[in-house]
Symmetry: C2
Subunit: 533 residues, 2 copies
């Protein structure tokens, strides 16, 4: 696509925001939260989620500046062009992947006029294959050697083929179909696959091998590991193994697999959870319709993200508030803290999606960046974290901006009332209390019991964590990450930074080969190998 955006530091908005950042809104001032209807006004409401951001260190001037910055850098326009097939995965003038970025097409399948028909058409075909496959399992047309139904799936994948699918599986575990269970193997650590093999009945197990390139070292090693176990159990791997891979990859070999599903090079690994990378496993576990709901939730967000108004566009607002905290107020990290045990692995997925996308130092024009790009993202569920690392959030010397995520209702209907309130109410009360406490702080004569406040945070709130909500939450963060990448003018879709480690590991392995050499002699290995560089 044509370069029509400005460098963000060359904008008027950037300079004005720099001035405003010298005196950010003081959340600890009297009535700072209630003044001017702030609590009611600083809420962005959309169909599924609302974003409550009165506890951020912003006022209308800052929000206007962020709006202007987003406009001057054409963030929403670039997002719209991305969805319509622009080649966004590139660095101008340098060798790069030069690809479209169309993970959004995986869910733009509900209208007759998708914004990019080719990719959406391909997505639809894969979804039809999935529907047929699930029906055949249901009707017993596909079954094991003994004619029994498959009850178990081992999902093999790593990185983008693991963290997204796994965190969504965990989030929706309570919606699983009777007698269906899923295990995950990702790490090349042989203990990981061995632990899973100890828990499953291989005869009734489908093995879902997921690798876009069809050449991922860890995934191939784990596939062989499990195939060997199948053979040792007198089972035919081609009756148990499924493939999800790029068309034409070394794994795209139907003879070896019961079924093959495709993904395309315009869907990056860390953005692939709504492609067949997540779809096959989720379909097996949840059934077909819940997967459609999941995609529908994501699709809603994608359309909403084209709204140019900052105050009405949740992913854009989250992105710009993040930039305010990270670039203007100087925080190094971002904590994402879901008040939902089911979302316990979602921060790990975001850690990948955000840090791999925006942990960059070169602009899309091939020059070194002159501002900070992506922060370190981390998180664990509340209330657990309250009994763990929240001490530092309240009283430490590092200021950590926080994105809370909460739900009004629980997934299971089981709950217990103690002293007049349910556990779900206790969960919510804690979320709200933390948000307010971090913002306003509290003076105390005992300096060790003093809370400085002004710790910026926001709350993403939805009614209940369902397949549709989960799809929306996923897409919301994908869009947020992409918006920030556009602003920093970096390529959020490549990952050149993983290459050196991979190359060096290969050299170390060649050195170890056959030698039964363990790490005892690692110094020597490193010495010898380092000289190769």
């Amino acid at each position: 696509m044509e370069r029509t955006w400005k460098d963000w530091q060359d904008t008027g908005a950037y300079r004005r925001l720099q001035e405003l950042a010298k005196r950010p809104y003081d959340l600890t001032a009297p009535d700072a939260l209630s003044k001017g209807g702030r609590l009611a006004e600083y809420i962005c409401r959309t169909d599924i989620f609302s974003l409550h951001y009165a506890t951020q260190r912003v006022d209308d001037q800052v929000l206007d500046g962020l709006q202007e910055l987003a406009d001057e850098c054409g963030l929403v326009r670039q997002f719209a062009e991305m969805r319509r097939g622009a080649v966004m995965n590139r660095i101008a003038g340098l060798e790069s992947e030069n690809r479209q970025v169309l993970h959004t097409a995986c869910r733009d399948i509900f209208s007759d006029e998708p914004v990019e028909p080719v990719a959406s058409g391909q997505a639809k075909r894969e979804i039809e294959k999935l529907e047929t496959f699930l029906q055949e399992l249901e009707k017993g047309k596909l079954c094991n050697e003994q004619g029994e139904a498959f009850t178990t799936m081992i999902h093999i994948g790593i990185g983008g083929s693991d963290l997204g699918p796994r965190s969504i599986f965990e989030a929706l575990a309570s919606f699983g179909q009777q007698e269906r269970e899923v295990y995950f193997v990702s790490n090349v650590d042989p203990d990981a696959a061995a632990a899973v093999l100890g828990q499953v009945d291989l005869r009734r197990t489908l093995v879902n091998v997921v690798s876009k390139s069809g050449a991922t070292l860890e995934t191939l090693a784990n596939e062989r590991f499990i195939r060997r176990a199948l053979i040792e159990a007198d089972l035919d791997p081609s009756r148990h193994c499924l493939a999800v891979t790029g068309e034409g990859s070394p794994m795209d070999n139907p003879g070896k697999y019961l079924r093959s599903f495709h993904m395309y090079d315009y869907v990056g690994g860390r953005y692939s959870a709504t492609s067949m990378v997540g779809g096959v496993m989720l379909g097996f576990y949840l059934g077909f319709e819940p997967v459609m709901d999941f995609l529908r939730g994501a699709s809603l967000i994608d359309s909403g993200a084209e709204n140019p108004l900052l105050r009405e566009n949740i992913p854009l607002l989250l992105a710009m508030l993040g930039v305010w905290n990270h670039n203007f107020l100087g925080s190094a990290t971002l904590a994402v803290l879901p008040y939902s045990q089911a979302l316990h692995r979602f921060p790990a997925h975001l850690q990948q999606c955000d840090m791999e996308s925006n942990g960059k130092s070169v602009t899309r024009a091939g020059r070194a960046v002159s501002t900070k790009t992506g922060p370190v993202l981390w998180g664990e569920p509340g209330t657990n974290g309250q009994h763990a690392f929240y001490q530092l959030l309240h009283q430490g010397t590092e200021i950590v901006p926080i994105e809370f995520i909460g739900f009004r209702r629980s997934q299971y209907t089981l709950d217990i009332e103690i002293e007049g309130t349910s556990s779900q109410q206790k969960l919510l009360a804690n979320l709200l209390a933390q948000s307010v406490a971090l913002a306003i702080g509290q003076k105390n004569d005992n300096p060790n019991r003093d809370f400085p406040g002004n710790r910026p945070n926001s709350i993403l709130l939805a009614d209940r964590l369902t397949p549709a909500t989960m799809g929306a939450l996923l897409a919301l963060y994908e869009a947020k990450i992409v918006f920030q990448g556009f602003l920093w003018d970096i390529n959020s879709f490549d990952q050149e930074g993983v290459q050196l480690g991979k190359a060096l590991a290969g050299r170390f392995l060649r050195h170890m080969k056959g030698k039964k050499e363990q790490a005892d002699t690692l110094e020597t290995s490193i010495l010898q190998e380092a000289r190769l560089l």
Copy 2:
């Protein structure tokens, strides 16, 4: 204890280190890693672990400065006094907990002359109770209403009563006894307990309720939740529930529990994994002898931590390298990256132990600190992380110091050889390759493929992850955290920062009581409640 230590910024070493930090060792210079036998020399070897730190940005001058700083601030002496019962949990002149800090006594039980006999005596008595209890389970003297053996334990606890025990359980899952399984419930989220109830046979389940204060909101709610389920299943809760709690706490009520185990106020929650907080669950799952091995590993580290020589004392060395990176070189976070899937929850435990201990802003003299205290600690296992957030580690604008953890051999003996190397070799090769790649970097004409290097890291290496190794690893990090707290002159043993959120949550709950009010009206709640402050 008497205040005999210096403020660390008033030492000669501090000023010298500040000077040295202007030109830290350049790991990207030619032969930077091999020069002067650096790779072989910068290894600290002890019985269980060795620490490889040639890939840190230090030279002999810096190490000498760090040694001197540790000496001038009396770190090892304070550690020895702590183990011998000094009242270290206090702030001079302010209201504070005023307690001894004796988690080390829980494992100082293997000689006839423990360094603090009273606490070690109490620890021994609890261990004897545990041994008897486990024997009674084994011999069938303790069994369920139908005379069947207990096969399952639900461990209920949160924060220090959860993260340590759970991460150790995960780490040692491959050593579990046949027909014993453990589930954990921590979050007040009602879905967490509901999900576990869906998986267990309550008739054969022991419920281990762990709360030092006996008054932890989440734990009491979850205990009631599970007790209600026991009663609904026509089971007698007092035949299924165990208590681990402080002597004299509201939970110290033998009539309600099959057995009660005690902990004491000189063991902080986040340091309590080697007390009965971890012991009861680990004993049930692993058997008694492995728990002894676990304690023995921890005990070895405690003794070794009294070695005054920085280059021979792994926890002290880790602590001082951490201070170098955080305070002198200016990094905000620390990543702990185990190359072992079994350790996947260990970073979450450390996140608690480190950030709750050292996320402080007031010195032990009651003054505001004038340097940074604890960093944000986070991490996920390798090689998984390589396919996720390593992009930012290699090429991002945030410099993240890293502590890798690795093992020469796997836990299970299952492994597979592909192209001449085993999966365990691949795991190790990747660990070494990442360490070197992050340190030395690599020039490339394509700036997007350039690796700047100088990303400091070290490797903790042991032979195999066993109960003894796990005990050592745990104690090693506990000692590291304590050393850093001593240096920053903060109280690493209190957690006043969690109080405000707790108090506010209580107010919100009173407001919600009976009203069936959901978060829809949360703004109003916050407004009304905020005015109460």
